[in-house]
């Protein structure tokens, strides 16, 4: 399969027209990448003898051996999908086959054999010692809010580290196919703003650690995972700028390969890959509009954007081929052919690390987000700030202002702590 060296394997597969990469664990329904950002399980494949590799994060290399997992047959045609047909109303795994001991045991033996996704790895991975780092302010997330917070903290005199899980900073600005209005009221294309924010952080002396994904916050340490080792960071203040991602939408067939997030579709476009020739967009907002414009500019046909309530079903086997839409006021639904469905549900903030750090997370009615002061990102934990989309905020200018205030406050609070000998760290 052809690929551009270094691009994610899932992107290369999409470029070859392949969205059907895997099968689900229970019903063996076809599965494909949804987020292209390491926040789902749709892109998992076996690469070079290692199971469960997230192909949206695995850079393609010449000679790489990529296989589908957990199928009898192929991802496109898995014999085990008979389970899906056999249990049309769903499989009640709690109660099935509990009437009779022999049947129960037989059922369990089958269930165990079918269970599991990856085979054991065929090669040994050597132990790799952890590394350590220290700083005054640790910023988690190298998107616009993280970059702004880190820059401000560094300018205010704090020794600042920024952890970014991908190979570049800029976050969503890198994929947004349109213009944004920055803090100086200039309308620029999004990647240009990302580049400027990155330059500012670099010249302010922020230690930017790319390909370092924060994976856990513990009492006095943050654990990050780099490609082949982990890094423990001790910081006096933490600024969480982990952003948000598209979650799932509830309509029949929303789990079909070819149904992906609008941001994921934009990420594909950025890699020069058209997500589909005829793309249906479900859910409205800035991303939906920007995606629609960008798709049309590249010669793709765009259906919608439709409101989420208008779409009742996505159809196709093994990948999406049509959607059923009941437009507002229409008497009946129409079936529209498409080869990709880009969904824009309310965004789901990445609240996990902030919560582990001690910040309160609340439910907005739509999603969970970190509870943070809108002006400076202060949270319920004294040493933790949260800025940007992980707090449920939106709007570039507002978020940048909040992020800068957080960076400033985080740095200044360290000086104050020295003077008054206040205990560091928040209480649980």
């Amino acid at each position: 399969m052809p690929a551009i060296a270094g691009e994610p394997v899932a992107v290369a597969l999409a470029a070859s027209g392949r969205y059907v990469l895997a099968r689900s664990v229970k019903y063996h329904r076809p599965r494909g990448p949804v987020c292209f950002s390491g926040r789902c399980d749709g892109c998992l494949m076996r690469i070079d003898g290692i199971a469960n590799v997230m192909t949206c994060r695995a850079p393609a290399r010449d000679g790489m051996h990529v296989e589908t997992q957990n199928v009898i047959g192929t991802a496109e045609s898995d014999l085990l999908s008979a389970t899906d047909w056999f249990f049309p109303g769903g499989m009640n795994h709690h109660e099935m086959f509990t009437a009779n001991k022999l049947l129960n045991r037989a059922m369990q033996q089958v269930a165990r054999r079918i269970a599991g996704v990856g085979e054991l790895p065929t090669r040994l991975v050597p132990d790799s010692p952890p590394r350590d780092a220290r700083c005054d302010v640790l910023v988690i997330g190298g998107g616009p809010a993280g970059l702004a917070a880190a820059t401000q903290a560094a300018r205010a005199g704090a020794d600042t580290i920024l952890l970014e899980e991908t190979g570049e900073t800029g976050g969503q600005l890198l994929c947004f196919p349109g213009g944004v209005v920055d803090e100086r009221e200039r309308e620029l294309n999004a990647p240009a703003v990302a580049a400027e924010l990155t330059r500012d952080a670099e010249s302010a002396g922020v230690r930017i650690l790319l390909r370092h994904g924060a994976v856990g916050v513990y009492d006095d340490e943050v654990l990050a995972h780099a490609k082949d080792h982990v890094l423990r960071v001790r910081a006096k203040r933490i600024v969480v700028a982990t952003g948000s991602h598209e979650g799932a939408m509830a309509f029949e067939g929303a789990d079909l390969p070819g149904v992906l997030g609008v941001r994921a579709a934009c990420a594909l476009l950025r890699h020069g890959v058209l997500p589909g020739e005829r793309v249906a967009i479900v859910g409205t907002g800035v991303w939906s509009d920007a995606l629609a414009r960008a798709l049309r500019a590249r010669g793709a046909e765009v259906l919608g954007p439709f409101a989420a309530a208008e779409v009742t079903r996505a159809r196709g086997r093994p990948a999406v081929r049509a959607i059923d839409v009941t437009r507002d006021g229409a008497a009946a639904s129409e079936r529209l052919a498409c080869d990709c469905v880009a969904i824009a549900p309310p965004p789901s903030p990445d609240y996990e690390l902030a919560e582990q750090a001690g910040a309160t997370v609340v439910f907005s009615g739509e999603a969970f987000g970190v509870s943070a002061a809108s002006d400076d990102g202060a949270t319920s934990a004294a040493h933790v700030f949260a800025v940007g989309e992980c707090t449920g905020a939106s709007g570039l200018r507002t978020m940048l202002a909040q992020a800068r205030a957080a960076g400033e406050r985080a740095a200044r609070s360290l000086r104050a702590a020295h003077v008054t000998t206040t205990a560091e760290g928040g209480d649980v």
Binding site: V25, I50, A51, N52, N70, H93, H94, E95, M96, F97, T98, A99, N100, K101, N104, Q108, A111, R112, R113, A115, G116, V117, G118, E119, L120, P121, R123, L124, V125, P126, D127, P130, G216, V217, Y218, D219, D220, E221, L223, R232, E355, Q356, A357, G358, A359, T360, V361, S380, A381, G426, V428
Partner: protein, 401 residues
């Protein structure tokens, strides 16, 4: 070095009103309390039984353990009781009509020194005298059982093919449903804030909760790690205390590991769940006091080191999630059960260390029989609270995790 988390909010989800009187109130809606309530309701349908839990079902150790169920123990009482409990686990799915995924792949205890091997062998002899099929095996047989195991430093191992692993949560749901079907009033998100006594403080009179008071002559303390707190409400100083134990699961793999592998020297244990994940833990003395259920970096390091040393191919396998629960630790490793001399109507069912889950099916049954008939299995005297006063401690050494 532990993950911080904000305090969980108590949401009142229980719909029914709390009764104002009951014949027995079981405090603790984990598997121990629910099994007891279930058997009580079956033996004595006229009895008004209430079960209280301060959070959601499966919130305590019943929802956090690794699902191990074994009869390999060093003390006679444990061997005898667990032999029966294993049998009850095997019957549970068809008896209670809910799948619990009980898989009897056996437990393999490994010994890496001669002295450990001798200790194991002594337990094995005792187990065999009780009719268990446990046997001592050498490194090459252990290797046949678990080809991926590094057996180079293995001296010997014990293996009982009838030990196994379950998925814990459906036990709780199964008992809960059966309780309700038998008329037990189950109230979650209901916290006991005080216990009232009368007769000059000589017997239990009522349970006070955040949702109301229940008059009752009998309280069963089945709160596990929280049991000393409950006992303190009536000024009883139980000698047990909570001790955090962490646990971890990996990404799901196709089935390859038949037994649960355990090493008493380090407390390491691991097994493959029905979903294909490797689930396990290890001993760690460096833990905070009290009811701390947060996760730590140190546990990850300890566990990963030991696990990869025992099974090198797992180095490439990824940890998906780590969590924790609290063991309910007693000075001699044996539980605290039965009535207490100091206060009438206050029945203990706690101190089960890290194996309360697997003991609950038999203990709930025996406790119910004791409460209904007044005549109990000898264990309610042998493991009684009074032993800490008389010095007749009962030691159990084959503790894991």
């Amino acid at each position: 070095m532990t993950a911080r988390r904000s305090q969980p909010a108590l949401a009142l989800t229980t719909v029914a009103a709390l009764p104002d009187a009951a014949d027995v109130v079981v405090v603790g809606g984990g598997i121990m309390g629910l099994a007891t309530a279930y058997h009580l309701a079956r033996l004595d349908p006229a009895r008004r039984i209430v079960v209280l839990d301060k959070t959601y079902l499966c919130g305590g150790a019943s929802g956090r353990n690794g699902g191990g169920v074994r009869a390999q123990w060093s003390s006679e009482t444990n061997i005898r009781l667990m032999k029966e409990s294993v049998r009850l686990c095997a019957e549970f799915a068809t008896e209670m009509r809910i799948n619990v995924w009980f898989r009897q792949g056996g437990y393999l205890f490994v010994a890496r020194t001669e002295s450990r091997a001798r200790e194991l062998a002594a337990s094995v002899e005792l187990q065999r005298a009780h009719g268990l099929r446990t046997r001592m095996i050498g490194p090459s047989d252990a290797k046949k059982l678990v080809p991926e195991l590094d057996t180079r430093t293995l001296v010997a191992a014990s293996f009982n093919p009838d030990d196994g692993v379950v998925f814990p949560w459906p036990f709780v749901w199964g008992y809960a449903r059966a309780c309700e079907q038998h008329g037990v009033a189950l109230h979650t998100f209901t916290e006991v804030t005080a216990l009232e006594t009368d007769g000059g403080g000589k017997r239990i009179a009522a349970v006070v909760t955040n949702r109301g008071t229940i008059r009752t002559p009998l309280v069963v303390n089945a709160t596990g790690a929280w049991s000393p707190e409950i006992a303190r409400l009536v000024d009883i100083a139980l000698p047990n205390h909570p001790h955090r134990h962490e646990i971890c699961s990996t990404e799901p793999l196709k089935p390859f590991l038949r037994p649960l592998v355990a090493d008493l020297a380090s407390g390491l244990y691991f097994s493959q769940s029905m979903r294909g994940e490797i689930v396990g833990g290890i001993s760690n003395e460096n833990v905070p006091d009290g009811l701390d259920q947060r996760s730590s970096i140190d546990f990850l390091g300890l566990y990963a080191s030991a696990l990869v040393e025992a099974m090198p191919v797992l180095g490439a396998v990824r940890v998906l999630r780590q969590w924790a629960g609290c063991y309910d630790i007693t000075p001699d490793g044996s539980p605290i059960v039965g009535f207490i001399d100091e206060l009438d109507g206050f029945y203990q069912l706690c101190g089960f260390m890290g194996h309360g889950f697997m003991m609950a099916p038999i203990m709930g049954k025996l406790a119910a029989e004791h409460l209904v008939s007044g005549k109990g299995d000898p264990v309610f005297e042998k493991w009684n609270f009074r032993r800490f006063r008389t010095g007749e401690l009962v030691h159990e050494t084959m503790i894991l995790g």
